[in-house]
Amino acid sequence: MIQRIVIVVLLLLFQQSPLKALVAIDITRGNLDPLPTAISDFYFDDSIKADDSIRKSRLDKKIPELVQNNLQRSGLFFPLEKKSFIQKPEVAHATPRFEDWTFIKAQVLVTGKISLDKNQRLRVEFRLWDVVSAKELSSLAFFTTTENWRRISHMISDKVYERLTGETGYFDSRIIYVAETGPKTNRVKRLAVMDQDGHGVKYLTLGNELVLTPRFSPDNKYVTYMSYFRNLPRVYLLNIEAGIQDLVGDFPGMTFAPRFSPDSKRVIMSFAKDGNSDIYAMDIKTRVVERLTDHPSIDTSPSFSPDGSSITFNSDRSGTQQIYTMKSDGTAVKRISFGEGIYGTPVWSPRGDLIAFTKFFRNKFYIGVMRTDGSGERLLTENFYQEAPSWSPNGRVLIFYRETPSDDKGRGGNAKLWSIDLTGYNERMIETPTDASDPTWSEILTKK
């Protein structure tokens, strides 16, 4: 259902210098002073005639605006007012007069050109300039169609982010979540997918049955989720392109809390039998099922480490909900959470070094991170109710959902998606057309 977009050519115009730019962002220390960034309007060059309909698309304004929104939302960039810009877009794109940009306190500058090549393909080129050291940092051109301008804008944003932070970007990615409507006692829930900036919401199910906890496969081809189809709560697999849904396994009871293995070949989940939930893995192709935990307590919320060697999960075998790790064959089970309160929904970071979690302590819910041995616990945000963090593809941002309390008539309660940096800064709500919960971030759509 998600349209696959093929970028025809990625043309590297200038080799990136192996030396680090003078201007660089240290993203490990919080975003206390975001980088002053000038994002110039792009321009249509002479290959696009004055009466060409492409000019009506206003992509010369819309692409830089979207790049600016992305960079600003990351909290690492401070976009400067466009009206303070002195140079015209086409002049700046050729060679900026750096004094003009230093004058308005810009440290980096983004410029761009939109043209048509000989075969009438739309070409969007951007350049990133280091104003302080007066040189070009990177430059890239994309061939595309006008309809794909958002993807192009996200890819440009990723390139800027990557060049200045030294980390991979996360703007060319999507979020799957559960769209919620209706009264709290009889909520209607639908699977929904959107760009990471909240644009282009598409609904994948109709809301006839309750659906929960959708997760993308790392190859972005599948979604696994739980559905109450025919009132039998089970884990399903959705092939996004073919639009085909499949039951995962043939279990004589509830299956829930699914997640993919890093190679997208297996689904791990809980299976509840006679009141006892244990963790199982199923190979998608062979349908072979493997039982990974065997304990009379509740074992749920499993999540693989990015190298596939380990699994973190949630268990109350100690008497309260705590976080555990084990090898991916189910051996070497070890409790790692020992702080005050109870812990749930552990998720291994894509960098492998941290586990994000939900914590409930003294009537408040927290989103936090700890190292994979349980040390270095750090709580990022506290609220009445919030849970289920999911990592951005580069492991720098967490998305989760937050609920507000309802009054005695059930009014006032809502559920929204929020994101926060790993640093604990830059907490933001992500606008959605309806209430929303259970968000999961996809991998970057165009893998290198």
């Binding site: 509740i298 949630n314 005695d408 059930g410």
Partner: protein, 165 residues
């Protein structure tokens, strides 16, 4: 020296008065001690939200926070359900397990499953055939009371025995 001693005694007397007052106040509001072997915890004991499978047969039982053991009140209700099911041998039921909203979604699904199964097991031990009872967990997805209050949460930590439609 003497003065100091007196003042100490005064303090002690005041303290004991204060503590005494506290103790009596507590006694006045505390509920009658439960005769049951099972602790009632913070399980709901009222009748609001309760529906009936038949005259005098409550459809639901309530649980304490994060618990799935049956309270005395729950056992009483389930005895009535078992008698009702014995008297209506052709009736099958589904036991729904529910949790309050103060827990993570996935854990609550497992907790609801545990609660529903405890009820099913109790009915089986009272002579109801296991193939007459289905269980389904809704976790925190279907609260009976939508409010975010201790009362609502206690009403939502429940199992509900329902007849199929």
């Amino acid at each position: 020296m003497k003065l100091v001693k007196i003042s100490f005694i005064h303090v002690a007397v005041l303290l004991s008065l204060f503590l005494g007052a506290c103790t009596t106040a507590q006694k006045a509001t505390a509920p009658a001690p439960a005769p049951a072997p099972v602790a009632e915890g913070d399980a709901y004991t009222g009748t609001d939200t309760v529906k009936f499978l038949a005259d005098g047969v409550p459809d639901r039982v309530f649980f304490s926070t994060n618990k799935f053991n049956l309270t005395t009140a729950a056992v009483n209700s389930l005895n009535k359900q078992a008698a009702f099911l014995k008297a209506n041998a052709n009736l099958n039921v589904t036991v729904e397990g529910h949790a309050d909203e103060r827990g993570t979604r996935e854990y609550n699904l497992a907790l609801g499953e545990k609660r529903a199964n405890v009820v099913k097991d109790y009915l089986i031990s009272n002579g109801i055939a296991s193939n007459r009872i289905k269980v389904v967990s809704y976790g925190k997805e279907r609260p009976a009371n939508p409010a975010s209050s201790a009362l609502a949460w206690s009403q939502n930590r429940r199992s509900v025995t329902v007849r199929p439609n």
